[in-house]
Amino acid sequence: MTATFRLESPADAATPDATRAPIRPRRRGQRAARRGEARAGLAMASPAIVLLLTFLIVPVLLGFALSFTNARLISPEPLRFVGLDNFVRAFTVDPTFFRSALNTFAFAAVVVPVQAGFGLFLALMVNQKIRGVTAFRVIFFIPVVTSIVVVSILWKFMYQPDGLVNSFIDSVTFGAWQGTAWLNNPSTALFAIIVLSVWQAVGFHMLIWLSGLQTIPEELYEAARIDGAGTWRQFRDVTWPCLRPTRIFVLITITIAALGLFVQIDVMTQGGPIDSTSTLVYHAVLTGYRQQQIGYGSALSLVFFVIVLVIALIQRHLTRDKD
């Protein structure tokens, strides 16, 4: 409290002065008020500035610097500059890194369109003017508030060879099609993780789409109907063009989230079987933290960061061009 009063005092002193004698030149009072404002602004922003500097900016720069060193978390060796060794190692002698990059892109390539499309479908369903529709919004959103750790464990249980998923497949196909050990099979593990990832997160994007849908004025639909447009034409000529800003937001947020795939891997497969589910972030955390090679892990994180940045910029560029 005292600190605040000290902050205010120059500005406070200026105000009554200026009101009492309006004829006198107000410059001095104004300057004092300006100074007070500047000081208050810096003071009120400073806790956030200090914290962001310490825990975001410094780690980003530190990660950049450590990428060129042999840093380890606990190390008998002194910190040493190793040039591009870490990057050379990643791109030449670390097949898991290459496989992880491939898996990450495959995951994003499927999840981005599927989750965006499914989310839009859900949004259209719950945007209808029918009774009880809010209850469905809440239900579709429930997986989003469930922790991804819990969701991963739960689905791991359901994916067991004698688990719920296989028993379901068995009963709907009357035993004609046998399931597999989804997570232990290199050709199905990533697909299995995609399914639960979409299941968990799609409700979030449903709401984003929904808020976009609700900004579209009803008159546009009325005009379209008068022109004889059916449901599909209304969607194509009214809904879709009006959703442009929402589309960009959804696209970029899903992409960044999908590229950061980590928890599902850590809980369900630990990157296996035979690297078929390892991802960039998982690999960076595994080497950088669990194997204590901070320098190498930082280099992998930096590569990941550059990839995210480039993709985000490309998306921005592509979506901006159509203006």
Binding site: A40, I57, L66, M125, S171, S211, V285, S298
Partner: protein
């Protein structure tokens, strides 16, 4: 249905069509609801059953019904195996601290950035917006190295002791997550919609900037505070990657990390389902109680994109 008079012609045909469409809508909605709910129903129901029965029930409807040898045995076993109470308390403490401190720190920054003129404001605003796209995963590894070398003051044997390293503490789970670029952004967006004439009037009455923030802007910004609280509450409660890296001390672990006690070669699924049910229920209750606020928060997070 046969009684519908044909005479009404096109009008009844149109309403008939609308009715049929509504029925289809409900069928699809119910199907989707089943898709989104069945895993969670399965989790809660299984948490009440012994392992043998979970497996024998799995091939039919019984998997989703609390029938047979139902009881709270799994929950008792969980309490015997891990300090659940302690984990829940740790998570609660960390979450409340992150959300509470975050509301104060980020709203003050949002206020300074949206309503005050000061040197460096443009730079800070630019940096805040630029950091929006830094995924936490990319700084996790260097951040561990960084916090392991930060100085810390400990209160030991009645004296303050200087030490190095933040690992294994509450503060390492809280302080890095207090300032949040996205929260600052949301606050400053919201604050800039409040007319500045209110500030001017208050200044003429002799109010300082902090008073204006606390007495005028904060009381008018309930929805912004609710949005930020909700959007920071979930990730704080769900923290997993970070605490697995920086907290080895069992007494300080949050709920999600406590999960690791159950990862074994021969998992006791009934107990696991009981544990996951226990750590999911509090969030679910909060969500259902404040669902309207949740929905509008998420919508608000997307508006400005």
């Amino acid at each position: 249905m046969a009684a519908t008079p044909r005479v009404r012609g096109t009008r009844s045909e149109a309403s008939e069509q609308r009715r049929r469409r509504r029925v289809w809508s409900y069928l699809v909605l119910v199907g989707l609801a089943v898709f989104f709910l069945f895993p969670l129903v399965f989790m809660f129901v299984s948490s009440l059953k012994p392992d043998g029965q979970i497996l024998s029930d799995i091939s039919g409807w019984r998997a989703f019904l609390p029938v047979g040898d139902v009881g709270l045995d799994n929950y008792g076993a969980v309490f015997d195996r891990v300090p659940v109470g302690r984990f829940l308390l740790n998570s609660l403490l960390v979450t409340v601290a992150i959300v509470g401190l975050g509301l104060v720190v980020n709203s003050m920054a949002g206020f300074a950035l949206s309503r005050l003129r000061w040197r460096g404001r443009g730079l800070v605003l630019g940096v805040v917006i630029a950091t929006l796209i830094v995924p936490f995963e990319t700084i996790a590894v260097p951040l561990v190295y960084w916090v392991a070398h930060l100085p810390t003051l400990l209160f030991q044997d009645g004296a303050l002791v200087y030490d190095i390293g933040w690992l294994n503490s509450y503060k390492v789970q809280i302080i890095p997550f207090v300032a949040n670029a996205f929260s600052i952004f949301l606050f400053s967006q919201y604050f800039s919609t409040i007319p500045t004439s209110l500030d001017e009037a208050a200044r003429i009455d002799g109010a300082g900037w902090f008073t204006i923030y606390r007495r005028i802007v904060v009381p008018l910004s309930g929805p912004a505070f609710a949005t930020v609280a909700i959007l920071t509450f979930l990730p704080a409660w769900n923290q997993y990657l970070w605490p697995t890296m920086v907290v080895q001390d069992e007494k300080l672990r949050p709920v999600m990390v406590g999960m690791q006690y159950f990862f074994q070669d021969n998992p006791a699924w009934g107990e696991i389902m009981a544990y996951t049910s226990m750590i999911t229920l509090p969030v679910l209750v909060v969500f259902l109680a404040f669902q309207r606020a949740f929905v509008s928060s998420v919508a608000a997070s997307g508006v400005k994109g």
